[in-house]
Amino acid sequence: MSDSSTAITMPPPPSPDGMPAIRTEGLGRSFGSVHALNGFDVSLPAGEVCALVGPNGSGKTTLLLILAGLLGPDRGTASLGGINPTDHPFEVHRIVGWMPDFFGTYDDLTSFEYLELFGAAYKLPVNQRAPRARELLHLVGLEPLASSPVHTLSRGQKQRLGFARSIVHSPTILLLDEPASGLDPRARIELRDLVRRQKRDGVTVVISSHILTELEEMSDIVAFVDRGTCRGVYPLAELPSTSTMGRRYRLRALGSVEPALGALGCTWERVSDERAVVEIATEEAAADLVAQLVARSVRVVEMTPIGGGLEDAFLAMDQGGRS
């Protein structure tokens, strides 16, 4: 829930229409003296891709473990599709796919055998296991590697195999724990496409990360997690950073930028003769600045926002929380 002590004002969370796919109330879990979750309340709408964003150790993995019915909470309740994972873990497993941040594979099996095994583990009918495994290998683009041992796969390929495994039983809710960490940009785009495809099929996706920009391109809404609590759920489009918050831009021109910037009287910082970092309040102002610079015959070659929208929003929230 939105923390009122946050420095910047954020729009209220969207009122979910219909039943939320995932809902937690006062979820708490400690490991010894570490409070991994501390009264976690969140409600996520069905059919959306939700980014779970928070720094390392903020409790994302713990939350997903509880949602996946693998870890029992000390306090509070959760429900996925109306089912409580603590009381009915196996009913939750039927509708939920889960991909942990770190996982191994049985190295002596081939990709195909691996997926077939999990088809069996999810109790697919015997005659559907092989076709489903083939279908999934096709979906994640591992068809050519169907009969290679899993340990020969690269990290990105293993990640895709893990993704395929998590959707073997065609879940309606998909929990992905840091799926993009350690992936190169190309692998990340492939992941984004896979996630988008799940959304198109009506699947609710929860995807966690501590690298904020990594999720910007694949999520619809963002839930901020900080020290075991949820600090608000926002539609990505309404994130304050992208519209209302001040941002920094990297400016580069052929020739000196100093005289023009000095004359225009904006906040800026000199990097070199041709480079500067400019602080601008809105995107409109940014566009205006470029127009004015060009009007003053500055030959602008680059004007790029520094950091992603999520990053800025998160940093703002973080500072707000600490102050």
Binding site: W98, P100, F118
Partner: protein, 334 residues
């Protein structure tokens, strides 16, 4: 569950290592058996046959088969625990266990899949000894019932070790530690039970008993009252195996000159401790010996072994239940 067993077996047997181990096991037993045979043939007593002193020619089958089973049990005690003692925590360490638990597989299915795949592997090791057993049979003196029962007992004893291994690998986070723990259980059952039984005799009270002597006067002497202490030795796998194996029926009054049957020797020794104190004295040949064989030790021993296995299985399955509320120190679910 079948699929899990199959894939588990596939992984166990895909490597070259497994086949090498199996071959080594068979060759080692073969060598030992050949050695036992030559020793058994040579150790037969010299008897007078038609006025001439000749070496007896009794069948060496019982000696060979008994030795084979004991060697097999010794090697099984060394190998079998390793088949499960790092199974669960090993999978946890490799990060393959949580995703398995996230499926529709129930904890008992995971337990039994791991258990049966290890049992099938054990079965392969036992199967490799079958040709050697056929050799023993061909030497005569061993009947098939004895073979079947002995193998059955072997399988059960191995199953107990497998269940214990699964338990240690579930409760202890480090594979090295759980391996040590399950070998510790093997040690406790084999040497440990012997040592503890021996030590318990120190505390056993003594009783004055009258010994009947065939020729000459009876005399009285102090004898230990072993009482319930035989139960300490009962779960010893070697005792269970030897005592449960049906004995070769030799008429009481018939003398035998062949090499001893090691299983029968252990069995006699084990049962002797269940004799009442007045029957314990075995110092002199003229002493009136016990007419009746004392009751068997193995049913109690097997019951203790099976209780151990059931307890281990129950605790393991309970510990594997999800969602997990208590974790071993330092353990992460994923």
């Amino acid at each position: 569950m079948n699929a899990l067993i199959r894939s588990d077996l596939k992984q166990r047997t895909r490597g070259k290592r497994w086949w090498i181990l199996l071959a080594l096991w068979t060759l080692l037993l073969l060598a030992l058996l050949a050695f036992v045979r030559s020793a058994a043939v040579r150790s037969q007593q010299f008897v007078s046959i038609e006025g001439q002193l000749r070496q007896a020619r009794e069948p060496v089958g019982p000696t060979m088969f008994g030795s084979l089973m004991l060697f097999t049990l010794i090697l099984a005690c060394l190998i079998v625990p390793s088949l499960t003692s790092t199974t669960i925590n090993g999978e946890r360490e490799r990060g393959t266990f949580a995703v398995l638990q996230a499926t529709m597989l129930r904890p008992w299915e995971i337990f039994f899949a791991k258990f049966f795949s290890a049992l099938a592997t054990t079965g392969a090791f036992l199967l490799a000894t079958v040709p050697l057993t056929l050799w023993c049979l061909s030497e005569g003196g061993v009947d098939v019932t004895r073979v079947v029962v002995t193998y059955l007992i072997l399988v059960l004893l191995c199953a107990v070790l497998l269940a214990v291994g699964l338990m240690t690998s579930t409760f202890l986070r480090r594979p090295a530690l759980s391996a040590v723990a399950s070998y510790g259980v093997v040690f406790a059952l084999t040497l440990g039970s012997l040592i503890i039984f021996g030590l318990s005799l120190v505390t056993a009270p003594t009783e004055e008993v009258t010994i009947e002597v065939r020729r000459g006067p009876d005399f009285t002497t102090e004898q230990q009252v072993i009482g319930w202490r035989w139960l300490l030795l009962a779960p010893n796998p070697f005792v269970v195996l030897a005592d449960a194996a049906p004995r070769r029926e030799v008429p009481r009054d018939q003398l035998t000159f062949g090499a001893p049957d090691p299983l029968a020797a252990i069995r006699d020794g084990a049962r002797a401790i269940r004799r009442p104190p007045e029957m314990q004295f075995g110092g002199r040949a003229e002493v009136v010996g016990p007419e009746e064989e004392p009751p068997a030790v193995w049913p109690a021993g097997m019951a203790i072994e099976l209780a151990l296995a059931l307890g281990a299985g129950y605790l393991t399955i309970r510990r594997l239940r999800i969602p997990a509320h208590r974790l071993a120190p330092g353990q992460r679910v994923a």
